[in-house]
């Protein structure tokens, strides 16, 4: 695939979507040499992956880098996929492993400020009186949820993001993280309890 022959993703994704290929069919076609199938998979998963990695890191730049790396792995290691598991399980596993590796590297670098997290458009000042209460609450919640999320241990954070943001099933999370089902349930429960404790403390501080 040379630069001149790289197809327009918008046009082809519609064709692929219209034909309603499953993810597993697309990866199989890609393994057979059909690079348009790769583009469709990119279009399907890029936003899902950025939501996963951004909530994981709290930093947009790092999150996009990891998504790029994940999609490159998909391109260079397509033959590693075997049709015994769902494609989504496989790609989330790659993204999760790359995210953990990147996080280990980040620990050696200076920490970024919350204001550099890439939550553009967030209101850091006192809420505007013209806004409805619901709007203020949601805005406040996103920032505080992200902050609270960053206090979670890595394995808790991964599990709760996959469950409550990516809305994956317990079984799929178990396959992605390669841990027993009971462990997944326990991690999700403890993550949620820790988040509610953290956010309750924040709310109480805000009221005083």
């Amino acid at each position: 695939m040379t630069e001149s022959s790289f197809p327009s993703s918008t046009k082809l994704s519609k064709e692929m979507s219209d034909k309603l290929y499953s993810d597993e069919e697309l990866i199989s076609r890609f393994q057979g040499g059909d690079e348009y199938s790769y583009i469709e998979l990119v279009n399907r998963y890029q936003d899902r992956l950025i939501n996963f990695t951004f909530r994981f890191f709290g930093d947009r730049e790092d999150a996009e880098d990891v998504v790029q790396d994940t999609l490159m792995k998909l391109y260079t290691h397509k033959h590693y996929y075997r049709n015994i598991a769902k494609f989504s399980t496989w790609i989330y596993t790659i993204a999760s492993n790359l995210a953990k590796t990147e996080l280990r590297k980040r620990k050696r670098r200076p920490q970024k400020l919350i204001s550099q997290m890439g939550l553009e458009g967030q209101n850091w000042d006192v809420p505007d009186e013209d806004r409805t209460n619901e709007e203020i609450e949601v805005q406040f919640n996103e920032t505080q949820i992200q902050r609270a999320m960053m206090t979670l241990p890595l394995h808790f954070r991964t599990a709760v993001i996959l469950r409550d943001i990516q809305e994956l099933s317990y079984e799929e999370i178990s396959n992605i993280l390669n841990v027993p089902l009971g462990t997944v349930k326990s991690r999700i429960n403890r993550a949620r309890l820790q988040l509610q404790e953290e956010l309750r403390h924040v709310n109480e501080t805000r009221r005083t």
Binding site: V42, E64, N189
Partner: protein, 187 residues
Amino acid sequence: MNCYKFRDSISLHIDKELSIKDINRFNHHLETCSSCRVMFQGTLDVVSSMKKLPSLTVSTDFGNRLQNRIIREQSRKETNKRRIAPVESLGLKPRYAVASVAALVAILFISVSFFTGGNDNFPAIGDTPSLLTREVIPQEEDPFPQSHSPASSLAAGSRADSSSNQLPIIATHPQIPENQIRQVSGK
């Protein structure tokens, strides 16, 4: 159901994973314990808030950056193919070619080492009782009596007319003066 068990069941209740029996116990405890009630409501709020988080999209240049990476990857593969081609044209796979060359070098080295065993500069195997040093000690006088035994000829030191060995055996020769041994064996 106690508070400990209740706490462990909160997520299962939210995700509808509890049995009917456990749901009843859960609800009963919920009615009777205010602190657990606060914890349960707080957890519900957290889960609800996370589901309302705005969905992100990749940046506008994400596709271009990915495309550029793919093109670079393809160029790299092409370059590697061109490097490997001459080796493969000989009917060899690169890794086998490297292994073959390494094996050949090892065989040559061992052969040279083996066949130079009779060299004057090296002691023959079995002839040398022990060697403390390979240093050649220049001597003005020949302190050792001439002998036809290989051991003594080795102990003779550096002599121009020695055809067998130029490395002195010092430590085991009974006639070697003590000070001579210390001089040579220590470094």
